[in-house]
């Protein structure tokens, strides 16, 4: 990749994070929790996006961000109160900024005139207040700087000479800033003469090591642009007193005792000591668990992490292989070796979990995109929607998160468009006019459960059934349970045509959601009460790299069944197995009959147990088809396996989810139970059609 391109990539990655931070801050403001920290976070995010965008020449983005930033600055300086209507404009501006970033990334055009003029209106309305109040704002206020940004920037009256009085406060050092570096930065703008003012330094006995006593008088010559000076001090404005004024040309140079700062100047001793102490204080504060404690993170190339994950996977396999060998050749010494191996297994499992944890991220990154979607949908449908996010901190594998966005978007669309009623309908039904959509995530027994629920009208089962009959998905006289009817909405080709709007029903059905979730190894649950609302829950694995599986033998082959789908295993009696029709078989499980299929027959494996009564039956729960009994030869064991995809080297085979490598180094296939079942059903249907045709 060309270096500029990779820097750009990094910029866009940062943009994603910054946009999230911005959204978070804006929502806090919307909820009335607009503390200065939240406002600052929003401001910083927009400012950084603008700064980076400028470096890459994204002009439309920068000009929009600039207008946005100006308004935010007014909010920050307190001249514009973050009231509801202001925040509303800010939220829309945030959405538009996100659009600009997307457009900068992948091309395209964003119409921002409307939002822009609303923003300008806000900033102009406050401009008078600002100029009025600027009299009592001392030099460390940011506002004048931002106004400078607006037009042609440079105040005309200067001849490039400036007098700067710089008085750092203790807080400046506590944030690990360094006056020397700032002054050195000034030397890049022109000739600098800096005089330290030591008048405030007390006697040694009275000296408080955490306090700041030194200040500087700086004369800068040859810098035309005031903005550049402000930029140097940008990050310390809150923590120092700063006076910058232009010197008239005729004025004689002040400061008799001058220290010319050059790059190699050694710090004065007292400056070093004054500064060293706050550093110590800072580390104490950090270990003391201050609430502002920031977690340290590093950005790592995902490939590196994946390589680590793979290596650990190999290690787990090798360990399993060793254990098996030791068990096979066990002797007197065997016990000691086995104990050691058990220890190793524990460590490996821990190592594996730790490595997997590197790949996990909070679901927040997906959830944060939803408030915007809800705002847009609410506006389009004229419905009032309140979105509640729960469990945003729940951590899931990155891959899962990436592939969660689309189905969640779909479900939220569905909830707002089909689920929630219009405000007047709601009031008539005795509900508050504002509908609530809850998006939640939680860990539940080793899986993550994500739920989208609404308090709308619920699934209209009669209508769903009627539509399904119209579409030919089911026959009119088919007797379906409520659960089966609910599941119909996930069938390909199902769309309640009467409800098509430009939001849902864009030709992509909920079957896509189902497919996405199934591809992630997840399942969908539906709960609905007419008039009270509906609830859709996605149950997903925490990671796509490992799986708890049951190892079964069929003929001379070994397969892995995902434990998540298994209900129980049993040894069937010959009397429990009943033929059904020409080829079907049913198994009596404590009085209930479930369809039974032979894995050997389904996968065309020869040499296995042909009489199911001689083998083992595993009862599985499949998506869409309910319970099924899978007949296998016997159960080998149960263990965690590392999932190895072969689709990239070959192609997808229906009924096979992936492969894994067993302890003996051989490849075993992981069965995709839902795929198997649908394959089996399709086969049956095909046969039935043939029979009917004959």
């Amino acid at each position: 990749m060309d270096p500029m391109e990779s820097i750009k990539q990094t910029y866009f990655q940062e943009c994603d994070e910054l946009l999230l931070a911005m959204e978070e801050g804006l929502i806090a403001m919307e909820n009335g929790e607009a503390d200065s920290e939240a406002i600052n976070a929003v401001f910083r995010a927009v400012h950084s996006i603008k700064g980076g965008g400028g470096a890459f020449g994204f002009e439309t983005l920068v000009s929009f961000a600039h207008v946005f930033e100006t308004v935010l600055d007014h909010v920050r300086s307190g001249t514009l109160a973050p009231e509801a209507d202001v925040v509303k404009v800010l939220l829309r501006a945030g959405d538009t900024l996100a659009d600009h970033v997307a457009a900068a990334r992948s091309g395209g055009f964003v119409a921002d005139d409307e939002v822009k003029s609303e923003l300008s209106a806000l900033s102009n309305a406050e401009a008078e207040d600002l100029s009025a109040s600027s009299a009592d704002i001392d030099g460390l206020n940011f506002a004048p700087v931002m106004i400078d940004l607006d037009g042609s920037a440079t105040p005309p009256q200067t001849n490039g000479n400036w007098r700067i009085r710089f008085v750092p406060k203790a807080g400046l050092y506590a944030k690990a800033n360094e006056p020397f570096l700032l002054v050195r930065e000034l030397t890049r703008l022109g000739t600098v003469e800096a005089t330290p003012d030591t008048s405030r330094v007390p006697s040694l006995a009275a000296l408080d090591p955490d306090e700041s006593y030194l200040s500087w008088n700086i004369t800068l010559k040859g810098c035309e642009d005031r903005q550049k000076i402000d930029d140097v001090f940008e990050f310390v404005t809150g923590d120092c007193e700063l006076d910058i004024e232009a010197i008239a040309a005729a004025e004689p140079d002040p400061a008799p005792a001058v220290v010319t700062i050059a790059d190699d100047v050694v710090l004065p001793a007292e400056m070093g000591s004054v500064e060293a102490a706050p550093t110590e204080k800072r580390s104490v504060a950090a270990s003391g668990g201050a609430e502002t404690q920031v977690r340290q993170t590093i950005r790592v190339d995902l490939d590196k992490v994946d390589r680590l994950v793979n290596l650990v996977g190999e290690l787990v396999i090798t360990q399993a292989m060793l254990s098996q060998r030791v068990t096979d050749y066990s002797s007197q010494q065997g016990a000691a070796v086995t104990a050691g191996l058990n220890e190793l297994e524990h460590l490996l499992r821990e190592l594996q979990e730790a490595v997997m944890a590197i790949r996990t991220q909070p679901v927040k990154s997906v959830f944060q995109r939803m408030p915007r979607l809800v705002r847009e949908l609410a506006a389009q449908t004229n419905k009032q929607v309140h979105l509640v996010l729960e469990g945003e901190a729940t951590e899931v594998d990155k891959t899962v998160i990436e592939r969660l966005g689309e189905p969640l978007t779909h479900m939220i669309r569905n909830a707002i468009d089909h689920g929630l009623e219009m405000p007047d309908e709601r009031v008539a039904a005795g509900k508050p006019p504002e509908g609530t959509v809850i998006l939640s995530a939680e860990h539940r027994s080793g899986r993550i459960v994500i739920e989208v629920s609404d308090d709308g009208r619920g699934i209209d089962r009669d209508r769903v059934k009627q539509k399904a009959v119209e579409k030919g998905l089911i026959s009119a006289n088919e007797n379906l349970s409520e659960e089966e009817i609910d599941n119909l909405i996930f069938m390909p080709g199902f769309s309640t045509a009467g409800q098509i709007s430009n939001i849902s029903g864009r030709g992509v059905g909920l079957d896509v959601v189902r497919r996405n979730i199934v591809e992630l190894g997840g399942r969908i649950g539906i709960g609905s009460t007419a008039g009270k609302g509906s609830r859709f829950s996605f149950t997903l694995p925490l990671t796509l790299a490992v799986l708890d599986g049951m190892i079964v033998a069929v003929g001379d082959q070994t397969f892995v069944l995902p434990l998540s789908h298994i209900i129980e295993s049993l040894l069937p009696k010959a009397s429990d197995i009943r033929s059904f029709g020409a080829k079907g078989t049913l198994l009596n499980v404590r009085g209930g009959y479930v369809p039974m299929i032979s894995v050997a027959e389904l996968l065309g494996i020869e040499g296995g147990v042909t009489d199911p009564a001689a083998g083992v039956v595993i009862l599985v729960e499949s998506e869409g088809a309910g319970r099924m009994a899978l007949a296998v030869d016997n159960i080998v064991g149960q263990r965690q396996v590392v999932i190895k995809s072969f689709e990239s080297n070959f192609r997808h085979i229906e009924g096979i989810a992936a492969a894994t490598i067993l302890g003996d180094g051989r490849v075993a296939l992981i069965l995709d139970i839902d795929g198997l079942v649908s394959r089996c059903r399709d086969g049956r249907r095909h046969e039935m059609q043939q029979a009917v045709g004959a």
Partner: protein, 160 residues
């Protein structure tokens, strides 16, 4: 032979040649990752017969193709003496089961002839050309086309 000597290095390529039912085939050496002995494969369901299954190549699950069967020359009765050529072609890594590796040949472009038009063989889809050297005739196979054909649904479902 003269042609080889006169050629400049840049349009010469090296090919690994291997035998299958007496015919000699060549594969671009740059595509070959490694050559290993035959190991029992794990069969895949619902795939054509020429897909022998998958093996564990140091942690990677590698599909193995019976080259002879793929070219319509009949199934290989694999023994420990047979070899699997591991090919990196495009995005895919696949194994090719062949009888034996025989030689490494340096072939220049001028020695490669197009496939005669009138020959309509199953294999033509995967043939880049024919190299004629000292009276030997080597069929040069395109590993990329061969590997890419695996991903296509066409023909793969015939056994299903």
């Amino acid at each position: 032979m003269d042609a080889t000597v006169n050629q400049t290095g840049q349009d010469r390529r090296q090919y690994i040649t291997f035998l299958a039912t007496g015919q000699e085939f060549g594969a671009d050496i740059m595509m070959i990752r490694e050559i290993r002995g035959w190991t029992e494969t794990t069969a895949l369901p619902h795939v054509p017969a020429y897909v022998r299954g998958v093996i564990n190549l140091r942690g990677m699950v590698l599909p193995v193709i019976d080259l002879k069967a793929r070219l319509g020359l009949g199934m290989t009765a694999a023994t420990a003496k047979h070899v699997i050529i591991v090919v990196n072609a495009g995005d895919r890594t696949v194994g090719l089961l062949v009888d034996a590796v025989s030689d490494i040949l340096t072939v220049s472009t001028s020695e490669i002839q197009a496939v005669p038009d009138m020959v309509h063989e199953n294999q033509n889809e995967y043939v880049d050309g024919i190299a004629v050297l000292d009276g030997r005739m080597v069929t040069l196979l395109s590993m990329t086309k061969l590997a890419a054909s695996l991903g296509a649904d066409k023909g793969l479902d015939q056994a299903a």
